[in-house]
Each structure stands twice: as C-alpha cells, then as structure tokens.
Symmetry: C2
Subunit: 548 residues, 2 copies
C-alpha cells in the first residue's frame, strides 16, 4: 500500500488554505466576482470580447484577397430592410446598418469572430423568433439573391459564423426556448438558440446531462454545436452527436421546413437526412430545433491531475485508464508543459503539482456509485504510480477542486490568446504520432527565428493539448500579432503533415473559411465532388454561407 500513502498527502494538498486550488487563482480574470468565475470556468471568451473589445482586426477581405464577392448577389436596399422589419415585427429583432447608423459596439459582435481573425462587412442582422420567420427570411433571400450567414453563439474557430462581405447575419439568439423534456426517456427538445450551459443546467435539475461539454459552453448555441458536430470534452464517454441527436427541425434554402424532431432512439424509415445537417455548418440549411438523447447524470464525479515524464508514458496511462476505469472513464485530457506554463504565466496561480513535468493529463470518472468509483480510481492511480508511468498526481476532494483542476485544462485557450492572438489547429492524429506534430512545429518556428521573449518576435510559444481519448490534438501557436511569416511556416506544413498520416485537418471545429482550401488533405477528390453535389442539391444559388 505504499502508493496509497503516497497519493493521500498529494490529495490532501488540494485542500490546504490558500492552496493552488482555491478560487483566488481563477479569479485573476475578473477578481471577486463569482459570476465571472463561472464564466471563466466556462471559457465564455465571446462574451468577454464582445463586452470589452470591439473587433479591431483586419477585414477578412484583406486577409483573403483571393475571395471575391459574387456580383450575382444583390446589395441590400431599404426595401429589403422594410420587408424584414415588417416580417419580424419589432425593432429589437434586427440591427439595421443599411438605412440607419449603427455603432460599432452593436454591429461588430456579429461581424467579428471571438479570436478577432475574421471580420466581415455585414450591415444587417436579423433575429427571427420562430421557425416560420426563419423560413420566410431564407425564402426571401433566396428569391432576391441576398447572401446570408447563420450565426449561433459565434464561438467557432474557423470563420464560419461571421460574414466575409455584406452577407446578412441571421442570429438564432431569440430562438432560445427549451421546448420539452421527457423525464423517463431522457429526450430533450430545444430551440437551436439555447445556450449549451443553460440546457445542461436545466437537465442537471432533472438528474440528466447534455451529452456534450466544451469550453465555450457559456456562449455557444446548441444549434451551432449540432451544425458543427461539436465533439468536446466527453465524446470519449457519450459518443458523437451523430449518435445522440435523434431529430432536427431545419429550414432549407428555399424555405422548406424539415420537420424531423423524432424522439425515438430507433427509427429506420429511410435515409437519415438529419445527419447531413449535423456537421453541415449551416451550408445546406439552418437548424432551428434539435431533439437529443440525454444520459442520466452520474452521481459521482472524480477528477485526477497527473504529471508524466514523456508522451509515451501518457499513452501508457491512457491504455491503463481505458482498461481499469472502463465504463466510468468520462474524460482523458492531455496538456503539455508549455500549455501549463502559459496558464501559470497569465494567471500567476499556484500549480496543481509541486514539480514541473513535461506532460500532464486530466482524468475524469463519472459513475453511479461513489464508493465503487473511488475504489477503481484509487487502484488505477496506485497501479500507474507503482509502475512509474505517472510521476506525481492530485485528486480533487470536492466540487470546487474539480472545477479548479478542469480550469487548468479549459483555461488554456484563453491564456494562450492573452498575448495578442493564436493560430489554432484542431486536428485528429493516430495516437502514437499525436504529439510529434507539436514538436516539429515548434522546431520549424524556432528555426525560422520567429519565437522569442521580446516584442520583436511574433511567436510567444507553441503548445499542444487536447482530447487524447479521441486522438484530438489542439496545436496552438500563441502570437503577439498575426504575421504572414508565421503563417507561411505553419501552412501548408501542418495540413500536409496531417494528410500524410491520414489524420483529419479538422477534428471538431469544421471547415469554415479557414480550412476550405486545405480540405483536399483530408478528403479525396471523389468525396469532395460528392459533397458539392449535395450543396448544389439543397442550395443551387449558393447564397447560404456564401464566402466559404
């Protein structure tokens, strides 16, 4: 039982007064405010950016001069605005920069993504309040050659939710009602504009959980999650939205309402067309509501934060966790030391572990019996420490500590972006090669003389982290400013690297505008042709998500 005694003091360290896992460490962003603390934990970057920093970035038209506005599309006129104003019935349902002056603070949150990488010239935002209104808007835009962009919580990372030119933004923010929940079957039906965290909190009260969780949960919309087939933190346990979404309601480009809000787990009656909309990024229709199978909420949640000497050891720990924790394993997250140094540098917090380790992992278990789960986790931890797979570790003792440990992982995105901007790559790579991409990218950046501690160097650091349980790596390059030289070192290198090992250039963030020209590294020509057929079938005018 040597290991047990080794682990126990480590675990106790978590609850020492003023220890690293008190809330003070987390409240650096917005000191003293518990609401903000929750938001920080949820990484609701969009909200923060919208409130404090109107988009100052370059226009996408400047960054991507090769993308030209299709002159078939009409300019928005006062007549168009008048039609939409009458349709929507009230002033608060549209932001009209066509016939009136609108402040940048009002318009920019819709024109600009939260990373400030993509910025459009939109002058009209529509906020329909019903599926029928969405239908009428799309039909009118289709008939009148007005290009549009659907927008959910605008937390996407590939420029897919903001306009490039003067496309009309259709924001789903007013369609934010939970329609129904069946406490026996666990089937939830919600509007597309419901914020993920709101839905999950609603379900928590019923003893259920939303089978998707991700850093942006405080801002992202369920419609956007489904449209981009978001994966997130617990896909390992609850599976993909392709399996969990039972039905959708959507509006096609011609205004047809697809009513397919099935609430049955099994329904083999013809082609499962909803699947095209899951991950379709809004390019063939707009999802207006979703029915989804929700699992029961585990009564017992445990989180451990472990350090290891190498990526090989982290892989060993993952294999042991799959085998020993099996049905209760709900997350296995990877973090390299660079990402954790970044969190420490920005937040000035005490680290969870005393020493420094090249790699860290966060392991979460969720189950129905706390004694059984604790016993399984303890035995697993004893085993991996005895075999010297893991060098050190802590186990959270209460809900606060669980949140604190998670914030070491969820806070990376925010802290990496702290210095000015981030080049983000969200990729799938076979496990054994997963981290090699980070090392090779760092080497290239260093060789090019682009990384350093002072302002003259654009790059601050190259970090790697991600959902290891799903072979999903987030490669992030923290920069002081976006710089063409950095881009040239990164691209197409990263995509070519992924292509060679049959990885995916977009594990969960989608294609958007950012990855359109690199799609060929993950999809062959025949597949791309088949996708074009589908786009052409549903949106022959190609007015929906024009720009990418």
């Amino acid at each position: 039982m040597a290991c047990r005694s080794r682990l126990a003091p480590i675990a106790r360290r978590m609850s020492t007064p003023g220890g690293l896992l008190s809330r003070t460490a987390l409240s650096a962003c917005h000191p003293g405010s518990p609401v903000v603390l929750r938001r920080c934990l949820s990484s609701t970057q969009t909200t923060c950016l919208r409130a404090s920093a109107p988009c100052q970035g370059k226009y996408t038209t400047d960054s991507y001069p090769e993308i030209k506005r299709d002159q078939r599309f009409s300019q928005i006129t006062a007549d168009h605005v008048a039609y939409f104003r009458e349709l929507l019935g009230k002033d608060s349902a549209l932001i009209d920069g066509v016939t009136a002056d609108v402040s940048a603070d009002d318009m920019e949150p819709y024109n600009c993504d939260w990373m400030r990488k993509y910025r459009g010239h939109c002058k009209l935002v529509l906020k329909p309040g019903s599926t029928q209104e969405v239908s009428k808007i799309l039909k009118y835009c289709n008939d009148n050659m007005l290009a549009v962009v659907p927008q959910g919580g605008n937390t996407g990372l590939v420029g897919g939710s903001v306009p490039v030119f003067d496309e009309i933004v259709i924001s789903m923010s007013r369609m934010n009602q939970i329609r129904s929940f069946d406490e026996v079957s666990g089937v939830l039906i919600t509007d597309a504009g419901v914020v993920l965290e709101v839905a999950d909190q609603f379900l928590a009260e019923k003893g259920y959980l939303f089978p998707l969780d991700l850093g942006a949960k405080g801002s992202c919309h369920i419609g956007g999650n489904v449209s981009t087939n978001a994966g997130g933190l617990r896909l390992l346990r609850y599976g993909s939205l392709h399996g969990n979404v039972l039905g959708i309601e959507a509006v096609l480009p011609n205004g047809t309402i697809v009513e397919d809000l099935c609430t049955l787990r099994k329904n083999n009656t013809g082609y499962d067309l909803k699947q095209l909309f899951i991950g379709g990024e809004g390019t063939i229709g707009m999802i207006t509501a979703v029915s989804i199978q929700c699992p029961q909420r585990g009564k017992a949640v445990n989180v451990a934060f472990l350090g290891a000497d190498s990526f090989e050891k982290i892989q060993q720990a993952f294999r042991e966790a799959k085998s020993q924790l099996s049905e209760i394993l709900s997350a296995f997250e990877l973090m390299d030391s660079y990402s954790q140094d970044m969190v420490h540098r920005v937040r000035q917090n005490k680290r969870p572990l005393e020493g420094e380790h090249p790699f860290y992992c966060l392991i979460e278990t969720t189950g129905s019996n706390s004694d059984h789960d604790a016993a399984k986790l303890e035995r697993f931890l004893e085993d991996v420490m005895e075999k010297e797979i893991i060098s050190d570790g802590v186990v959270a003792q209460d809900e606060t500590q669980i949140k604190s440990l998670w914030s070491q992982r969820e806070g990376i995105t925010e802290c990496v972006g702290h210095f000015g901007g981030t080049y983000k790559y969200d990729v799938s790579i076979p496990l054994k090669d997963l981290y090699r991409l980070v090392d090779e990218t760092r080497e290239r950046i260093e060789t090019a003389g682009l990384k350093g501690d002072t302002d003259e160097f654009p790059v601050v650091e190259v970090v790697g982290y991600g959902h290891m349980g799903d072979c999903n790596l987030h490669l992030n390059v923290a920069v002081r400013r976006y710089d063409k030289r950095v881009e040239e070192v990164l691209e197409p290198f990263v995509y070519e690297w992924i292509g060679k090992i049959n990885g995916s250039i977009s594990a969960e963030h989608g294609i958007g505008i950012a990855k359109k020209k690199y799609l060929g590294f993950s999809r062959n020509d025949a597949m791309i042709d088949l996708m074009k057929q589908i786009k052409n079938l549903y949106d022959p005018v190609s007015f929906l998500c024009y720009g990418y």
Copy 2:
C-alpha cells in the same frame, strides 16, 4: 436484508442438476451438437432454413400484384453472363440460371428470405471478391439497364435483400476478410461480407467487442447490419451505428468507389455522407467495407431474469435499472407471458421462474469489476423486490446460465415461427404506450375469430417482446399459414396506430418491400420528397434495389 435471503435461493435454483438452465433445453433443435447449439443461441435461422427447407412460399409477384416489372430493364442474356463470368474469373463466383440449369437448392437461398414471405425470380447470382469487382458489376448493370439487389446474410425481415423479379443478386459472401484492427484505438476495419459473430469472436480475443449484437449474428453480414442500421440488443449501452461507424467504403450505382474508411473518432471535414449509406438499405450504393469504433469487452457480465405482474411494474423496474445500474446496464429486454409460453411450448423446457407471470424482463449488466457490478445488481434486485415491483427472479451464476437465460429471449423469434409463419412488426413506441399495441392487436384478431387452438384458425398467438431500453417493440403474430384475412385485420391498423402516437413503423428492420407503402405513417411528404431527391441523385436509373 430480508430480500437478500429471498434472492439467494432463487439464484441458487439456477445451478441445480437437471435444472431448467442446462443445455438440454436448448438442444431440442439439433440435439447433441454443440455447434448447432451455438447456432440456436444465435438464432441463425437463415442457415437452418437454407439447409433444410428450400423456399416453398408464394412469389412476391403473386403477393404484391400491384408491383410491376419496369420494362426499361433488360432481360439477362448469355452475353451478360459471359461478361460477368470473365470478370469474376471463376465458376464458383456466380450461380448461372440463365444459360444453365440450376437446382432449386442452389438458387432458392438467394431468391427467398428466411421467413419465406418474399420470393423472387432471380436467375443470376454474382459473388464479387473485391471492391473493384463490385464497381465493375454495378457500372455494367447501370450501363446495360440490368436491375440488381445487393445481398448480405439475407437475414432481413422486410424483403429488402431478395429480388422481386429477375434482378441480379450481388452476394457479398466472398468479401469476408477482416482487414485490420488497432488494439490501442479499438478501430476495426472489415469487409462488408464478414459475419457479425465472426467479427465479434475475433474481437473477443483482443479484449474488445463489436458494438452491435442481435439474434441473427451467426448469419448476418456487417455490411447488411450497417446498410440497415441494425440496432439489436445493446443499443441502450453502446449507441447506434450512426455514432459508432467511423467510415465506409462503398460503390455508387455508376461504379464510383467511395473511399472513406476513416479510423478517427473526430473528423469534421464536410458533409458526413457515409451516414446516408447507414440505413440506406443498399438503395444508393453498396457498402463494401466498414471501419468501426469497438469498445473494450466488459470483464464482468451478469444477467437476471425477472417476472412482474403488469407492464406498469416492468416500466418501474426499467426506471430503477437506469438509475441504479446506470453505466453498467447493457440490456433491458421485455417479454410477455405469451412469448414465453410459446418458447416453452416449442422447446418443452423448464421455465426459468417457477410461477407464471404476465411479464418478464431480462436485465444484463456489463462492467470492469465483477465485485462492484454484483453489488450494484444485488442492491437493485433487493430494492425492486422489496418495493414489490418484481414478483420473482433468478440471476445467472455462470456463462452457461447466462446463455440459457438469453435464449429465453433470443429464442422467441424461432419458436414463434415454428407453427408455419409469423407476421412481424418491429416498431418504436413511446414507453408508456409500448405494450398497448399488443393487447389491442390480440383483441382485434380474436374479435375477427381468427385465433384458436386448431388448424382451422390461422392465428396461433399474438406476442410482444423487444428492446424495452430503446422503446422498441417486436409485435409478432404466430400463424399456421399466411392468410389474407389476418393481413387485413393487421394492416393498415398497426401502422395507423403507430402513426397516431408518433412512433416509428420500423425501429430497426428498415423499409424494404414490406413497409414502402406505409412510410407515410412515420415520415411526412416533405421528408419523403427529400429522400426521393437523394435516391435520384445517386441512382437516377433506379436499377439498385429495384422492386421496392
């Protein structure tokens, strides 16, 4: 602890010498043969039927005189046969009834489904050995207006895998190789023609399992499972194929090979086109290989067989099982007394429980720690007996008893069909109304004077069972012979009933020829139009799966 002592003797009853759970009870079908025993447990009805009983049923063209052969399609000529013979390279790769005489024993297994309800006039069976051969066959048939039907294990229940007229059968039986398995990620790649049980046994040796299990596992092909989006016994635990299948290789009607054998859990690079083929029933292309995420095999499996006084009590037991067994619950199967009487009547076996009960359920748990799982199950059983939700129950003590208890559930299909035939309805119904359909159907059959103990009555019994965890009911009407009067009482009644409560007319078996005209009870016109668009996009000639 009163309940504990009540349960213990019940559990012990399972292992008494000569008890109901010995293998003798199961070997009635093929006494003395362990191989056959395995087959019986797997309900490999197709194999049995093919070997012992050439199809004697009516031709589908007689049963469905309204379906006419489209005269655009060519008759198969000696030239066509010569092309295929040269392409496939050897005589064993085709069965040629066009230019030669072929015995009924050779041809009928491909012309006739295992329930002997559907029978075609096929004269040519092709057995390609590679994806390239499938591609050349489909292209040739498309170009030469030859209608075809893809066929896997031919275990379907809706007439979708057999021809109606003289369509060419393309059997996948020769494409039966496991291509690769990754022991770290759990991703399996197999040819479409691999038998489900073969794949699962292969995976068992590696500590994994195929995330699908169903009665016909000893005969059905993985390609057919995916094409029909099979659900089976453990969807409750492992989810649907839409979530687990990572990639497919398929051949489109024009011969294009879709290479999308992705092995990554996350890959958001464009429309997820493979999903159209999952459940597409082979109507827009033929799946030739599948990559699928397989979970680790649970080390501990427990099975309990319980009796209850009413369907309401079974629902209560289900709610308690979801809550208390949670992450280890792997199956919750419903059986009514009529189905169990039928098993007893055919097999003359001793029943698992001493008394008779109006309803039974089989509960299976699968987990990584046998002590923990046994403790959870024991506490659950104590609880449901103490609350008088369950009247009596047994728990299997070893692997043999587990198989025996499962055979009480899996054997229903075979025993119901013992008397001559079965009208089968595989439907999804919201849980509270699930069993009401069985009662109402029995009442209609009785009122019509069609049910009785002697030969003059066509109907033997109306039974209900199914995957209660998925709200999936199997309504079976056991008959001595197929009879128009029975059909008229059953249809459209059953489908109308399902339509009214927003159920699904096909939970897992698909549409095929059997349910085509009833699709409107589960799908609205707009959805059906969208499906037609997809069919027309991929197969404008409509030569694939012609007949339905």
